[in-house]
Amino acid sequence: MNTDLVKAHLNLNAVLVNLEDLVVYDEEMAALSKNWALSIQFIVRNGPRAHITFENGKCTVGRGRRKRPSIILYFFSPRHLVRMFDGKAQPVLLKGFTKLGFLLKDFPKLTARLEHYLKPTPELLADKKYLALNTRFTITTAAFAVRELGLLDPVARAISSHIGNGVVLMKVNPEGPAAMLRFQDGGIEAEKGDTAKPMSAMLFRNLKTANDILNQKLDAFTAIATGDVMPRGRIGMVDSLSLILDRIPLYLG
């Protein structure tokens, strides 16, 4: 298996998606991107594609190709993309030379802020607002990463192929954030948000426990006994999901 390929998929399809919420929940970023009207297409040779669209103060991240992007960023390999995310390489600009200012000045502010939220320290997590956003992004990343790993990582694929059909909900009680994974006949789709009728659920007592569990600081077995994590429904699905979640740090982090 090509680790860089998996990392490239995770970065494009599980990390970038958080930009959607970043411009909603971070006022500064909302203000910054309010008037943006453009789209970026990422193309990785022998790797994934994804696109980001800014329109009417809204950000949408999608898989694959979109029509008529304003900017096309090209990468020679998954490794090239991974190095870009590590701040060690630059993409090749295939289209959008007139947007160079945006790419060099504005967009990096957004990605830097996302990175800030995704790299917690104990001090940062002590801040309620930071904790809330970090947890939101962690849950989203986790859900979308499970989809990628379930299709690309051999061990996760073996696990997900026996997971059964239905929606698994991950949710911080009482009001979220939440994300869902829809398993259907070998296919997996990740989605942000809540559902009233999941097939199984991993409910977290609060932001702090969700954060600790998803960042591998607390083991789920202990947390379930204390009621900090409440699995419900098809527990086999939750167990399998946990095993896949455990594999995320092998690629991200």
Binding site: V155, G166, F221, A225, G227, P231, R232, R234, I235, L243
Partner: protein
């Protein structure tokens, strides 16, 4: 009915979590209990079919310590035999004569057994069975049924579990339960490479219904293994002595080469056994396999007393009849509330699920409501019946079951 609370259990668990990884690990971990907070974590004592938690709550126990309790907790005959042996000696530099007596008794009791080997846990003997099969055949590969449970050795755990590496499964192949053709295909694809096929007498995975062998399944498997020099291992750790004293393979009408026993063998005293046919005795003898406590004479004395008592009581038939009575009543009660209770497996270790909610959340709530009222039901695992479950226990269970259905109906309105 009064519902239970678990203050002392919770307090104890908090202490435990500081000094024991995940507080309570393994199959007694609260993790698969839903919601875990509706269940007791620590038991203070047990007697017959009941146990009391550290908060003083009393439970009719339908998990029977996940199988080992079969004659009732603290059975006087078994305990007396154990105590008598303890006074003479337990772990000594040489084994006690009771070891020979127990082996003879097992050979007399279990149809296929020409010899018996003792260890402590089910997993000890499932691993030993694989080693014996490999030693006997000079082959590496093992075929298992997907979703079957044979203990916690890395080969027995599913891929992806922490601490398990890909190489642990390099010689393990899987077939689906009851899929004779699948097994035959594997055998044909790997001629002369498969040392053993290991399976439980019937399929009893967690979270889902149990499945009995299809008509003709076992006799075809037996013939296939014989023809291809594959050792047929039956993992009777869970079913053993709850279906048939002569071995669960007799219940289903086939003859394995090796059989693993543990749970019901000694009414809670720690001992397990691998039994086998004469043809495999030399191979078994050649495998070096042992443990510090495997010669503990107390457990052997307890086992001998347990097996004798099980035989005297015709325990498998008794437990199946009790289980059937209990479950028939429960199915009726469920129906009277508009619910369908599906029972699968054998009534002495039934898998029970309410089928009206596919997600099982309603079923989980119902099991938890029963438990909070003194009838300990898990929602993820087959239950166990013992010879100590009385008619009075069954009646009380029905009452609790009835009330729990009322509670979930109110909550779900379906």
């Amino acid at each position: 009915m009064k519902t239970y609370t678990y203050k002392k259990s919770v307090a104890l668990f908090k202490r435990a979590a500081k000094v024991i990884p995940c507080g309570i690990y393994g199959h007694l971990s609260p993790a698969p209990l839903v919601p875990a907070t509706d269940y007791p974590f620590y038991a203070s004592r047990a007697k017959g079919a009941r146990f009391w938690d550290v908060d003083g709550n009393e439970f009719i126990d339908y998990m029977c310590a996940y199988g080992p309790m079969v004659l009732g907790y603290n059975d006087p005959k078994v305990d007396a035999a154990a105590m008598k042996q303890l006074k003479s000696g337990n772990c000594i530099t040489a084994p006690a004569p009771i070891m020979v007596e127990l082996a003879e008794h097992m050979v007399d009791t279990i149809a296929i057994a020409d010899w018996a080997f003792f260890a402590k846990n089910g997993g000890d003997v499932t691993s030993y069975a694989l080693m014996t099969a490999r030693a006997a055949t000079g082959r590496k590969k093992i075929v298992l049924v997907r979703g079957g449970y044979h203990g916690v050795a890395p080969w027995a755990q599913a891929a992806g579990h922490p601490g398990v590496i890909d190489e642990d499964h390099s010689t393990i192949m899987y077939v689906e339960w009851n899929d004779f053709e699948g097994l035959e295909r594997l055998v044909n694809e790997h001629p002369g490479e498969i040392a053993a096929f290991m399976a439980t007498p019937y399929h009893h995975p967690t979270f889902v219904d149990s499945e009995l062998p299809a008509v003709g399944y076992w006799s075809r498997v037996e013939a296939l293994c014989k023809k291809n020099g594959i050792v047929l291992i039956i993992d009777d750790v869970r079913c053993g002595f709850r279906l048939d004293m002569r071995g669960s393979s007799e219940y289903f009408g086939f003859k394995p080469d090796l059989a693993c026993y543990c749970k019901a063998i000694a009414n809670g005293y720690p001992i397990s056994a691998l039994v086998g046919t004469e043809a495999l005795k030399t191979a078994a003898a050649k495998v070096f396999y042992t443990g510090s406590y495997w010669f503990s004479a107390v457990a052997m004395a307890a086992s001998l007393a347990t097996l004798k008592e099980l035989k005297r009581l015709k325990a498998p038939e008794l437990m199946m009849a009790r289980g059937k009575k209990l479950l028939d009543g429960m199915i009726d009660i469920a129906r009277s509330h508009g619910y369908t209770l599906n029972v699968s497996g054998i009534p002495s270790m039934p898998s029970v699920y309410i089928t009206d909610d596919e997600s099982l959340m309603l079923h989980q709530d119902w099991c938890a409501e029963c438990t909070k009222r003194g009838v300990y039901f898990t929602s993820h695992h087959n239950w166990f019946i013992s010879t100590a479950h009385t008619d009075a226990d069954i009646k009380k269970t029905w009452n609790v079951v009835d009330e729990a259905f009322k509670v979930v109906r109110k909550k779900y309105g379906m």
